[in-house]
């Protein structure tokens, strides 16, 4: 690996695409491209955050009641998992930059494992909701096929809790989909890292995937309090 690195330095790097003048321009383009893509992602989630804001404002009590049925412990655990994974991701990028192959590979692998852990916990949570009939539709409490009632705060309407769960599944589902894509992306990066493609000269793919990974984490940082925490204190205090 050390040999190829020297040769690459002399002629031109094999990763340099023909339409770029140099690696620096290619790196800039790649990074800006990812930032622009993340802006589109922000707008994509933005539509759902908009809907959440509107309905939270309209049906605050129903949302607080519905929120109480989520397990904040699992949510908090997942939040911790993602924050740690962001750290290991940043560590991977750093090691790619300074050319520490082993550390790069290990921290990428840990990041992937943490991502899978998150998805596993999410699956458990979804399963719990399924067991509790909290998936919007005919089996939702109060609907014709399920006469049972959902525990409500005084003044909340059972009907509107269904909107909360719709948004819960739409938002966390879309987030989970992004996690799946992220794990796939990092697996590709891991594959090429093992083959020794990245080093101080050329590590933009690692950096750019890192940006994506941090962004997906960041979405969760907003989802966790909005869906799990807001209004939780009212369970006891009224």
């Amino acid at each position: 690996m050390a040999e190829t690195a020297i040769v690459e330095h002399e002629v031109h790097h094999p990763a340099l695409q023909h339409h770029f003048e140099n690696l620096e321009q290619q790196r800039e383009a790649g990074t800006l491209g990812m930032w622009v893509f993340l802006v589109t992602e922000m707008m994509f989630f933005g539509g759902m955050f908009m809907a959440y804001t509107l309905y939270r404002y309209k049906y605050g009590l129903a949302f607080a009641s519905a929120s109480n049925h989520l397990s904040w412990k699992l949510g908090a655990f997942n939040t911790a998992v993602l924050i740690i994974s962001s750290f290991t991701m940043a560590f991977a990028v750093y090691n790619a930059q300074i050319g520490k192959q082993r550390r790069l590979i290990v921290s990428l692998a840990i990041t992937i494992l943490l991502g899978l852990t998150f998805l596993g916990v999410k699956a458990v949570e979804y399963h719990d909701k399924y067991e509790d009939h909290l998936i919007p539709g005919r089996l939702f409490p109060g609907n014709p096929f399920n006469p049972s009632t959902i525990h409500l705060l005084p003044g909340a309407s059972a009907q509107n809790t269904e909107i909360f769960y719709w948004l819960y599944f739409a938002m966390t589902g879309m987030h989970a989909l992004h996690m799946v894509i992220g794990v796939g992306l990092l697996s590709v990066i891991l594959f090429f890292s093992v083959r020794g493609r990245y080093g101080p000269e050329y590590h933009n793919p690692v950096e750019v995937s890192g940006l994506y990974w941090h962004f997906v984490d960041l979405i969760w940082i907003f989802l966790f309090p909005l869906l799990y925490l807001l209004g939780r204190h009212m369970e006891h205090g009224g």
């Binding site: 800006l32 491209g33 707008m43 994509f44 809907a51 509107l54 129903a62 909107i163």
Partner: protein, 562 residues
């Protein structure tokens, strides 16, 4: 002269991007932005004529007051499909994905867009989305109007809403990827010396368009996705049965779909800025104003969506603010029109076909824009909501604006794209036919609409017949007018006169390489030392032009044949 000497095109070679490689595979797997532009050109044209067929069906039905040609249910599908095809599959990609794709790298002196693979991917995504949509239309169609308003679309409509929605959802990503590619390319790939304020205005307008594409399109994507889930699951966040708000759908829809109007018109404005400056042989009047007005339109464009919802039951105060902001967006638009007009003043104007389209654009955009102010006034809008006044207004912008700019740009850059000249006489004739046909189609609709003829009805009171007959007559002329260029442009690809490198004697970078350009665009990487629209005196330009032409003919001579 300095500017011209700074980058002298070397002897043109016989190899260009079209004949560099042969075979279907070399086109379907190409990463060359120019070839992808041609792929887009073909598919966009196909969708245009597909949408045109539906337009003709509408106009045939409306010839008589009674609904005798199509049933009301079929008519609903026909106008919906006309709208969907024309908006999502023609107007939005028309200029950016064809002319923009071809010219953005050339105008800034780059070898390609920043992400060639993503560029090709965007074309495939567009095709997949288009195919799904066409399949949905043929399988049974969709009747919600192109706006998909909930709860009709989620609950009551008995047509292929989800499938069409999926088609539009998918094709939206092609638009996002195009916008992303343009923004990154314009930021990072400019040739040495190509500063921001040396960029042609075409680039500025495409930059502004790209901003809207990346900020707006994801919102319609998620909205359509939520709509589709809601229709499939029979429950969702727009569903009034559980306290959902259908007006939220309208807000989310128009948050994209109003800026989408600017996705359609801004590239057209960019084309017209080029045409007006270059065919007046004058630097554009107030370059920075025109450049920044594009950005201003993009920004203001995001703040005015509520003017589509004056009668939706949104808050009166919101309506007033949206009305005010809609008036405000007229300012940057007017800046452009005034600056184009000022550019014409004392210019040495030549009335070649592209210029005819550009001048037509200014007139029609003016009418479309001014009637837009009528519609931005709440009181008048309430009176003419859902009448043909609105239909006429937006067709003046979309057809009178975007289509004319697209055709003008296509003729203007045709020598560069195909390496052949189009037949000038036929082209001028077609431009005239399009202009006359267009006005005959849509001017009467202003009157009919103002008198109260509602849109989206297949039958109407007999007193409106005269306007509808005029309109249908105009539509057939307009339709013919768009067919003529289709025929002679295809003809010219084989039989047209060979184009010189710079047939219009212009300073832009795209004219400083051979026609058609080589795959890498420029044989020698250009260094820019001149300002945009820096015309040498007519004599000097003439000399340079003829010299290039002479050299080009020398190089051509051995080939012979035509």
């Amino acid at each position: 002269m300095r500017a011209i000497e700074a980058f002298e095109p070397p002897l043109p070679s016989k190899v260009n991007y079209i004949n560099a490689q042969y075979g279907l595979k070399s086109w379907l797997l190409t990463k060359d932005h120019k070839r992808i532009a041609l792929l887009y050109l073909g598919s966009v044209t196909l969708f245009f004529f597909f949408g045109g067929i539906y337009a003709m069906l509408i106009r045939i039905e409306l010839l008589t007051p009674r609904g005798d040609f199509l049933s009301s249910a079929t008519y609903n599908k026909v106008f919906t499909q006309h709208g969907i095809l024309m908006i999502f599959f023609f107007l939005i990609p028309a200029i950016p994905a064809t002319l923009g794709n071809f010219l953005v790298p050339m105008m800034i002196g780059a070898k390609d867009l920043a992400f060639p693979r993503i560029n090709l991917l965007s074309w495939y995504i567009y095709l997949v989305g288009g195919t799904i949509t066409i399949y949905a239309l043929l399988a049974g169609g969709v009747d919600t109007g192109w706006t998909f308003y909930a709860p009709y679309s989620t609950t009551f409509s008995n047509s292929y809403v989800v499938l069409t929605g999926v088609g539009i959802f998918i094709s939206g990503f092609s638009s996002i990827l195009t916008g992303l590619n343009f923004i990154v390319t314009i930021h990072t790939m400019r040739a040495p010396g190509m500063t921001w304020f040396r960029l042609p205005l075409f680039i500025w307008s495409h930059y502004a368009t790209s901003l809207i594409m990346i900020l707006g399109t994801p919102v319609i994507a998620i909205t359509i996705l939520l709509l589709a889930f809601e229709r499939l699951a029979h429950i969702g966040i727009f569903d009034p049965a559980i306290g959902g708000d259908p007006v939220l759908f309208q807000h989310l829809f128009w948050f994209y779909s109003h800026p989408a109007v600017y996705i359609m018109i801004l590239p057209g404005m960019g084309v017209v800025s080029e045409l007006i400056a270059n065919f007046s042989r004058k630097n554009i009047f107030g370059y920075k104003f025109v450049a920044f007005s594009s950005l201003a339109i993009a920004i203001f464009g995001f703040l005015v969506w509520g003017h589509h919802m004056f009668v939706s039951g949104q808050s009166v105060y919101a309506g007033m603010i949206f009305s005010f902001l809609s008036f405000a967006v007229a300012i940057p638009s007017a800046v452009k029109v005034f600056n184009w007009t000022a550019t014409l003043y004392k210019g040495s104007i030549s009335y070649d076909t592209p210029m005819l389209y550009a001048l037509g654009f200014i007139g029609l955009f003016l009418i479309g824009g001014m009637t837009g102010l009528f519609l931005a006034s709440i009181a008048i809008d309430v009176h003419v909501t859902d009448t043909y006044f609105v239909v006429a207004h937006f067709h003046y912008i979309m057809v009178g604006g975007t289509l004319l700019a697209y055709l003008g740009g296509l003729h203007y850059w045709w020598p560069k794209i195909s390496g052949r000249m189009y037949p000038e006489g036929w082209a001028r004739f077609a431009a005239l036919v399009v202009f006359v046909g267009f006005n005959l189609t849509f001017l009467p609709q202003f009157v009919a609409g103002y008198l109260g003829m509602p849109r989206r009805y297949h039958a109407y009171p007999p007193e409106f017949q005269v306007f509808n007959v005029l309109s249908s007559a105009g539509a057939s002329i307009l339709g013919t007018g768009t067919l003529i260029p289709l025929v002679y442009l295809i003809w010219s690809m084989r039989y047209g006169r060979h184009a010189e490198a710079n047939p219009w004697n212009l300073p832009g970078l795209e004219w400083r390489t051979q026609s058609p350009p080589p795959t890498e665009n420029f044989i020698v990487s250009p260094v820019v030392t001149w300002e945009a629209y820096e015309f040498a005196s007519p004599d000097e330009m003439e000399v340079v032009g003829t010299r290039h032409a002479a050299r080009f003919e020398d190089a051509e001579a051995p080939a012979g044949g035509d």
